[in-house]
Point group: D2
Chain length 290, copies 4
């Protein structure tokens, strides 16, 4: 069964649920899931609708142009995804393999509906892991003086493999604003409970502060380091018995799970980013339609 | 702002989201929240819609009769609640006061949109607590030989106070099927993670089994003890350092929070009970539209 | 059964567990609990020992002077508490009553082994709550220009009631360094997962940042705002459906539980503060012997 | 640094902490960790002591015979492990690979201090996974009529590889009492929050019951199915949105983490099994010295 999923955000007004579900129904679509949210601070209406395409009277190519009319009427930002389009993920790694293995194994066991044709790394260490699973591996070392060129090479690879989503699976480099302008769809896992311990060495700093709980945060990457919209977070209890090494070990379980959940939600078109309003003081934030 | 909330369950079919949201919209209602769920095992569609009444073109008294037409068409079970109707709760207790205090204080701080005109107990102990907050207290002792009559007296009190919901806040008596037939709207807190440790003395049994986590469960009461549809559960970690007394103490925090969440969800018309199908083997279960 | 509890911290060296438990045993004490921790970063050994006094061959008044000899030998900081000494708590509040009720009710149900003779507030609002439970209430308004004098009055009250511990139960004022020098034993509840959202309005800032989990932190108060050693933290999941009002409501449950746990651990002499070493970069931190 | 770890259980009496730590100290051992617990229901004292061997005046071979004298005096059950002895694990699997991968990867990243020389399965499916990591794989199909012989073959393999611990990593067969008599050191992961949903198909039964939280339990295997002493449990929240397939997916994360924690605790000699007393009604239970 093929489905279409529509994500919409627009200024809140009366009748939007009815208007949008009506549009689907009037074209013969059977709504499987519909969820919406009104953010009164931002004055926005946000909706996710998923419907069966079998009985829909519009061909795939006609759907977007046809919806455009309603979208214009309600001043909406929107996008539509089809369930039979298999997204293509590039995983960026450095030396740690736990998130890489985790994503690959989840993809292999059909938890993640996507393909992973390529792994890109600033180190050669994890080539064997990628190759074991038949995935291409590109080693692109990054230094301060060649970062610009190396990122161009990374972008060329993303183009070559027709990548839809980059996942930073413990990639210990900061992507430049230029990279993000050219390829904005990037999910990162940060090994702290943001906004606590943004930046380098979060586990060491958590240890020094003597916290009783540590966390991990998956977020979309923006120009401001560790300030991107949060998709998912989770935590685990620690105690004085845990050294920094223990925090790192416990954190690895969090990183795996939090990153995998975020990627899965993204692949199912459940994440809608909005916000960034000077008036309300809101930062970029997400609705995760679960 | 007054709102109406509609809870619907009916056999699943195409176009239900559009039909129902259209019905609201066509009468001038602005949908604030709409959420739905399709249970494929039970073959059911379940929906919750909340809309503003200010601009609705039907008077309150006309809403149910008017919706009845659509309901019949889609073979729906349904009910409608209005946000300006303040529900009336009777709390049943025995000797423990922690859930009683908790519910009263939440009601006082506007977390629970309801009034609590009466507390009923099989013991005299908590009369002072009720009176401190200006709540009437009825002591109705229960013995095997007078249970029937005493329940009749309880039912008379529920009628006298026009009670909509009974909350068993650590009431250590089992309500008879006869009571439940006459007054079916009852929420109970059970001090275990059901279905583990149904029945008596769950903390003692949890201790003896050596579990590493204990729980609490809020559920609607049915004729089968501890088998009613679950509204909410939560857990807390325990260790060998915890004696039975510690389990009881930790459990009290769970009981308070789990019961309060369930009552709050119920009062906001977020809980829809369905299931009980011999074919699918499903028991009675809930959708909690959060 | 009366017990003594010894908390010791000293430079780590060989044989400390044996030395200390031997000292107890050689005086006829039966050790009920012994736990220790070595912090290799700080180079410290930390221990908690609790033993029965019935068979101990030293009178209470002799214990400290006698232990002093061993303590000097191992360069220890230490203190001893007796289980039959009932500690005296002053609760500081502003306008919110949830933590105040919670602490009083736990004290009444014997979860907290202490007495609460007095509540001090910068507002008159909660006087009735205190009086309901037979607790004295002192309203001491605080303004920028009279803070010094008002704190002197607070300190006089603490002296008058022979207070051992001050608990800031949502007291919306900052205690001055002068106050803390004169009365250092103060536990505070901060309504965020520190170090995230230290300072004012944590729930509003958490909302604006779009976090998926919120927390609360109980800590000893030091001169640096929200930087004191953490005793306990806990968290709860939130979503886009939660407004700031919902965060505040959910947070209240966290605040209650986290503060109560910290106070209980403190009253059982389970919390040992150490750290603050320029060399290691460690901040003040706690061992909580559970 | 090589250490020895002693686990002791004996009838509770005065002076045990001092006696045992004295014994270590008198032989020149530096205690790194000491933790103990008194179970008043069972009347037992349980202790774990870990000390450095470098300065110990007994050779490894002399330690047990020397301690025997003290052990007899206090009627103790006990065992001693040395940190430089690397334990040998056999993993039993059926068709699911997630726990197998997880244990292997944790072993590779030094989270589990052990070697895994062999995987045994009643199915051929996971041979490639084992071989990828250079681990031998034995396929031993099990049918009702050949179970006895096949178990004998399994036992022969355990002997051949000098296995110390068997981990059932989603092995969908029940080990016979005979197997367990010959090889009692077996850890299993059960995919429910025991004692809820013991036996077959826990996720399906959890779905039918409509629980709001699911769990996983790691325990030592005994003759009574799913009744062995619990080492570790954890849970995750589910909702009406989760189908059985979702429960299985979410449960896999729990299974991985709970099993890995239990195996790790076991390998660090942190788990002491005791209990099974007809008088107290206690079942077999664990102290996990963390």
């Amino acid at each position: 069964m093929t489905t279409a999923t529509l994500l919409v955000s627009c200024p809140d007004q009366k009748g939007l649920v009815a208007k949008i579900s009506d549009w689907v129904f009037s074209h013969g679509g059977n709504i499987l899931h519909a969820d919406q949210h009104a953010d009164s601070t931002a004055g926005l209406f946000l909706m996710r609708v998923e419907w069966e395409l079998d009985t829909f009277d519009l061909a795939k190519a006609e759907i977007a142009p046809t919806f455009e009319k309603l979208a214009t009427e309600i001043y909406a930002k929107w996008n539509i995804q089809f369930s039979d389009y298999v997204r293509r993920i590039a995983i960026f790694v450095s030396k740690q393999d736990h998130c890489l293995y985790d994503l690959i194994l989840r993809q292999r066991s059909h938890e993640l509906s996507a393909v992973i044709p390529v792994v890109i790394s600033n180190h050669p260490d994890l080539e064997k892991v990628a190759h074991n699973f038949g995935i291409n591996y590109h080693h692109i070392a990054i230094a301060a003086e060649n970062k610009r060129e190396q990122e161009h090479q990374q972008l060329a690879i993303l183009k070559q493999y027709k990548i839809d989503l980059v996942v930073l699976a413990k990639y210990m480099q900061v992507l430049s604003p230029d990279f993000l302008t050219r390829f904005p769809q990037v999910i990162n896992i940060h090994h702290s409970f943001l906004p606590a311990f943004a930046g380098a060495n979060p586990y060491h700093r958590a240890y020094k502060r003597g916290v009783k709980i540590i966390g991990a945060t998956a977020h979309y990457v923006t120009d401001e380091l560790d300030e991107g919209p949060i998709i998912e977070q989770d935590v685990i209890r620690v105690s004085h018995r845990d050294s920094v090494v223990d925090l790192i070990r416990k954190g690895k379980d969090l990183e795996r799970i939090v990153l995998a959940r975020a990627v899965r939600q993204h692949l199912q078109n459940r994440v809608l980013v909005y916000g960034q309003s000077a008036d309300s003081g809101l930062g970029l934030r997400t609705v995760v339609f679960d």
